[in-house]
Point group: C3
Chain length 288, copies 3
Amino acid sequence: MAAFPERVKNQAPLIHNITNYVTVNDCANILLACGGSPIMADDLQEAEEITSLCAGLNINIGTLNQRTIPAMLAAGKKANACGHPVLLDPVGAGASRLRTETAEKLLKEVRFTAIRGNISEIKALALGMGTTRGVDADSMDAVTDDTLDAAAAFTGAFARKTGAVVAVTGAVDMVTDGSDMYVIRNGHPMMRKVTGTGCMLSAMITAYLAANPGCPLDAVAAAVCAMGICGERAFSRLNPEEGNAAYRNHIIDAVYHMDGKTLEKGAEFRKYRLEADGTMALSEGEQP
Amino acid sequence: MAAFPERVKNQAPLIHNITNYVTVNDCANILLACGGSPIMADDLQEAEEITSLCAGLNINIGTLNQRTIPAMLAAGKKANACGHPVLLDPVGAGASRLRTETAEKLLKEVRFTAIRGNISEIKALALGMGTTRGVDADSMDAVTDDTLDAAAAFTGAFARKTGAVVAVTGAVDMVTDGSDMYVIRNGHPMMRKVTGTGCMLSAMITAYLAANPGCPLDAVAAAVCAMGICGERAFSRLNPEEGNAAYRNHIIDAVYHMDGKTLEKGAEFRKYRLEADGTMALSEGEQP
Amino acid sequence: MAAFPERVKNQAPLIHNITNYVTVNDCANILLACGGSPIMADDLQEAEEITSLCAGLNINIGTLNQRTIPAMLAAGKKANACGHPVLLDPVGAGASRLRTETAEKLLKEVRFTAIRGNISEIKALALGMGTTRGVDADSMDAVTDDTLDAAAAFTGAFARKTGAVVAVTGAVDMVTDGSDMYVIRNGHPMMRKVTGTGCMLSAMITAYLAANPGCPLDAVAAAVCAMGICGERAFSRLNPEEGNAAYRNHIIDAVYHMDGKTLEKGAEFRKYRLEADGTMALSEGEQP
């Protein structure tokens, strides 16, 4: 995995973000931290032109509106035409018809390289149902060791249907292209207390995809592991008076210092094959 | 007062925020810090649906525009229909006709549980006049011991007129439902050097209201005391090289660590009755 | 130079910002840090009224859109009518037709007191060409000792054409009114790893202009030196675990502590005359 973050630093991919105004500053700073370069542009009149200049596109529907939805569609199609990786972060899909339908429309009209969401968002899109509670995953949907197989089945099917690498992040992370699946156990529960850790990860994944073409499954998994490790390292820096504001800063700072060696050493994952019947089997070489 | 913050932590109320893009990230992080959960959604096409999922609504007109004003009105009415607490933060009322008239329209069409602003904003709405200097209170309007009685009179009348708990925050804070008034002396002058301490407080008040139904006056007062205490504690953490950026983070971190015991111990307030002639009398049990 | 930051602190100028949603919070906090007071308002219905209340206007096209462009034009003309200083930050000019044409339209319809951008943005506007790479300067455009003379020539010509003080910031900063030019060597390369250091500087320059009327060249140069010194001081505070998130906070904190004495002592600049043939000559009294 060590090569993935290094390539981001060496290539400094310019990433076009059409994203929400809640966490946009953190997305810009985490892109700079990992070695990428951010540009935010959400007006239809420039969306295609800006995306043409870039190496990847990150579409996040967190504060979607009537003005920005057409820009998302236009930029997505243009990025497809340019052969750039495109990521969808379907923030709050399942929580409103506007969000669910916009995500569905984007999935219909744009080919996504990757889709990253919490389990409730992915469930809403994969199964046409779900109990998205605002922008956070519903606790009823949480992926645990008991529910991992079931979650893997519909996530894998969703990846096959969309042709995208699907990343479901939470206490346990799943990253799959429909054939293989990384189950990742990095991260820290306190990451849920910082707004935008998901948005930041989506931005960073886009940079990893742009700088590591040809291996989207591994690139997404590497970015997910990197973010989790940064959550762990940031937590270890917290002093007793510090809370979620300091933690946010420490996470971005940890990304700033993340390198191939740290990723290689800290990544906690196992790789599985997804069988035809939807069950998971450890990939060759993985210890049971 | 100790029960108020604990109930927020236990219930994790989901709060719908239609708020300005200047301080929105801090509002999201302070909601997470106090134990709530934030969602931001400002498009008319989803405003009612999102607010239905939530436990409270925070309307902040800080960067209002033609697209978001209808969403504020629709969400406010829907929250009323759902029986959810609704807060108005009339940022900059008095500074432009658009802000004053939008606040007035909201007050006419939506029943607010609470209204929080600085003295100039509240004066502009309560008296139809004022000298709002941008988004900060005008120094001529500052509430001091000398002007407290006069400010209490029009603030109490405004609370009776609107049926809302009115919180005027500044060097001295007043929280009143028109019958009783908390005069609160927590906080630190340096809070004025951090953008959005008022916006953050409004978001937090909404979470306190949502998790503590049936006692809006006390819930608002508890949140105002809590924020003030956090301002004090954050200031005590500052080292000589730190300034307003560190202070912002320390304030949110202090909210993260705020609990019932800390609130109980640190709250500096006195409770008064508002007499029919507009004067204040110490409530029973209060030491003169 | 010592008087410039002190006047900002004494006068607390209210600055109207029509700026991008990526870095808007940092712009607000840096204005508070330097002693100014921020207000953000970008709707056409209030842009003129708000700017009338203020002492200066900062127009930043970083996330321009069809709704905010008319507000920029209206506010700019009104600020001209009021005699307020107006600054243009042409973020991403050269990267899309919308940005380039909007900047050109603003330059045609509004008289700017100052224009601050990176070398690629200024080149795009001054020469009608350029290789703006997103919102960062293209490395091919970087101002070095070798390219300083050429850059000075077109920057000076652009200042004469627009009547504005032009500030090109990067590894080496140039500030010119077309007759004289400050070449400033404060700052630290890591400032490029923080989103919005340029936006923040533009906001701060506007406050310096508002509080120091009659000497825009020197006021802009003072603000540029101040920001560079803060970048240096912030860097010296970084511990090995800290990255660009901590650095952002340290920069704002350094601005909070910046005073006339620190500016006087830390400013690293030389002043040149721009000759009729476009070459630079050291101003009288400057050591060669």
